[in-house]
Symmetry: C2
Subunit: 409 residues, 2 copies
């Protein structure tokens, strides 16, 4: 008996369909492959993979973290939906940035373990098995896995690459069925850097109203647009209050990706449901991270300064990476990102699919890029580069790519 059991492996039928249907996003898989390569020695890894800002957490936030260690409540669970002060600060901030009247911070705002958990709570609260969620393709890899994890079916609406990733509203209409429950997108977008125009946002809101859909708005990069392009959230429109779920983040704006701190804002009928899910998944967001977020929102002059510095740095990185891509001739082609710090690059090398391509680049020259296939059915033959890293890493990565591309020819 004992021997039999020892021999027995986990059988597939014992694993949930939910888990079988999803995969680790290729973004994390590439990080893990890179870690294995790093362990094997050789030249330094150049990270164009996971989107981590190269800036360190601002000093005024670090000081607050150190001070918070003297406050005894930092060791303890916070209230399940978050520290009241932080929820108030998020509400007041959204009232200004999103032109929303009177947000009830106790009923409409919750603090989450990053934007990822906010979206998980939103999806769990609104979709049942077999419900459909519209995603853009290319779109953020984890959104696809999150929808499937909660029993939903992603329905993809293709973006117009040649038109700098504009929404194709004809295709969008065609993606709707009776089972469509929500539309989920990041704006500014990941992996394309697309920023929705005010007109597109208005049309999206009208579309959601017409088909009675929830709008799950991933606003992780709301602070990061280039060339003066305005950021406009659907939450700023009248009449969407009962269907909008804003999922926000402190990760990129304040260099806090490792702190796992984000928030959700929605009408109380939705938020109360999302809170139940949040309780079942994680109990509460980390107290020390919530205090870091309070520091960020309370110290407006300091945070405006650090954010402006970040935006300037990423803007310069954008020019740098575009110049280096141009330098490679027609091997790579791209649409210049309007926001975020990703560029979704098409490559001209039909021999390898994007997964093979990313693996080969990692193995050959220790440069991490993310396979385009992670980002939906139209992502193939592309690679995502993050330009959130240092200018030096961009240069070193492209010095290696220059030689590597030449060697392929």
């Amino acid at each position: 008996m004992k021997t039999d059991l020892k021999k027995k492996r986990i059988r597939t039928e014992n694993i949930s369909k939910r888990a079988q249907n999803i995969s680790v996003s290729l973004i994390k898989e590439m990080s893990m492959l890179a870690d294995a390569v790093r362990g094997g020695g050789g030249s330094r890894i150049i990270p164009f993979g996971q989107g981590v800002p190269y800036f360190d957490t601002p000093e005024y936030i670090k000081r607050e973290i150190i001070e918070s260690l003297q406050q005894k409540d930092t060791r303890a669970y916070t209230l399940m939906p978050g520290i009241n002060e932080l929820r108030d600060l998020v509400a007041r901030r959204l009232e200004i940035t999103h032109a929303i009247k009177k947000i009830d911070s106790r009923r409409e705002v919750m603090i989450t373990v990053g934007c990822q958990e906010a979206i998980a709570c939103a999806l769990s609260a609104v979709i049942d098995d077999g419900d459909e969620v519209i995603l853009f393709t290319p779109g953020f890899a984890s959104h696809i896995q999150q929808v499937i994890h909660f029993g939903g079916k992603p329905k993809f609406a293709t973006l117009k690459e040649i038109d700098n990733w504009a929404i194709d509203f004809v295709k969008l209409e065609k993606a709707v069925t009776k089972k469509t429950k929500a539309i989920l997108f990041a704006n500014p977008a990941n992996p394309t850097g697309k920023v929705l125009t005010v007109k597109e946002v208005k049309l999206l809101a009208a579309f959601a109203k017409k088909h009675d859909l929830f709008i799950i708005s991933d606003e992780t990069y709301d602070f990061l647009t280039y060339d003066g392009i305005p950021y406009f959230s659907p939450a700023s429109l009248p009449g969407v209050r009962n269907r909008i779920i804003v999922c926000g983040s402190f990760s990129k704006k304040y260099a806090l990706t490792g702190y796992r701190i984000g928030y959700a804002f929605a009408e109380q009928g939705i938020t109360s449901q999302m809170m139940k899910v949040h309780d079942a998944l994680v109990i509460c967001s980390p107290a020390i991270s919530q205090k870091a977020a309070i520091a960020a929102l309370k110290n407006s002059p300091a945070s405006e300064k650090s954010t402006a510095e970040f935006v300037k740095g990423f803007s310069e990185n954008r020019e740098r990476i575009c110049a280096r891509l141009d330098n490679l001739g027609n091997f790579f082609s791209y649409q210049k990102p309007m926001g975020a710090y990703y560029i979704f690059v098409k490559y001209d090398y039909p021999k390898l699919d994007s997964r093979q391509m990313a693996q080969k680049i990692l193995n050959d020259i220790h440069v991490v890029v993310i396979p385009g296939s992670a980002f939906g059915p139209t992502g193939e033959n592309h690679l995502r580069f993050s330009f959130g890293g240092t200018p030096e890493d961009i240069d070193e990565g492209f010095n290696r790519l220059d030689k590597w591309v030449a060697s392929l020819r």
Copy 2:
């Protein structure tokens, strides 16, 4: 049109059944009610509610947190399954404490957002809609909600209160159906403080093998038993390796509840599935909390000292709270806890159910206790007291309760 939409509330049919079927655990609800009472002024709130140790995070961990702020990777996502060093430390620790041979830390250990998220990942990976999970009643409130959240059906096996919450193996057998997929329990248990005997653990393992069930073992309080009672994990038994999922925590042992840091250990076929869920829910556990956990596991002499101090304090608290309960005569009756820092007290006051009782105690004398009904079908007419708080709070709480009980008579 605009007015119509503004008037329209969220309709129930737009919320997922999953969310509709669960509720915020009464533990968190009482915390929120207490917060509202606190906002109203009056006497200080005495917390016998949520289980937060009264000790502060040990200084050697705080020092490490401060130092980690100088390491640039603290700001960034860690690898999705956690920092390799921490996974190694957890593996080596479990090999010793659980007498497990050769744990593959890269494939069998993952770091989570507290034990809660470890259990969420375990449940999501093994149950589909309609699958049944056996829970003990009374048992941990959140386990019930977590099972329902992932589409599972809790099947309750009643513990024998008069026999100090011993497992009734006859009732346990009767709880099994063809749909039973797993058994989930905390040991030492919450809310009863029951510690499973070695014999009970062996019988449970045999039971799980007989019915081909996963064992999800919530080991949050593995360090906390009294009177020299040994702690014994089912993971220490041969032949359960392919069905055991150990969910552990740094929260209580190192006074890190607010840091949201725990871990899971299981055979790689299970862990690989849980990692996918973890990625979809939270990306990774907070880096700063992982570094706190590394400090805890690396500094054995310091951590052994702080843990011994905690255990001594809680042991004294146990004597204190039992003496104060005894002092109230037959209004309260209880089984003396064998571990953890909860006592599940039966009250003799048929006029009020446990929810009304907890609400009345909060309103009348600003003392937080948790209604027994939160802990399963046999929890009614009980209240859970945490004695994780300070001795002073225990005294003050019972000074108020003495008068309050007298006033009821």
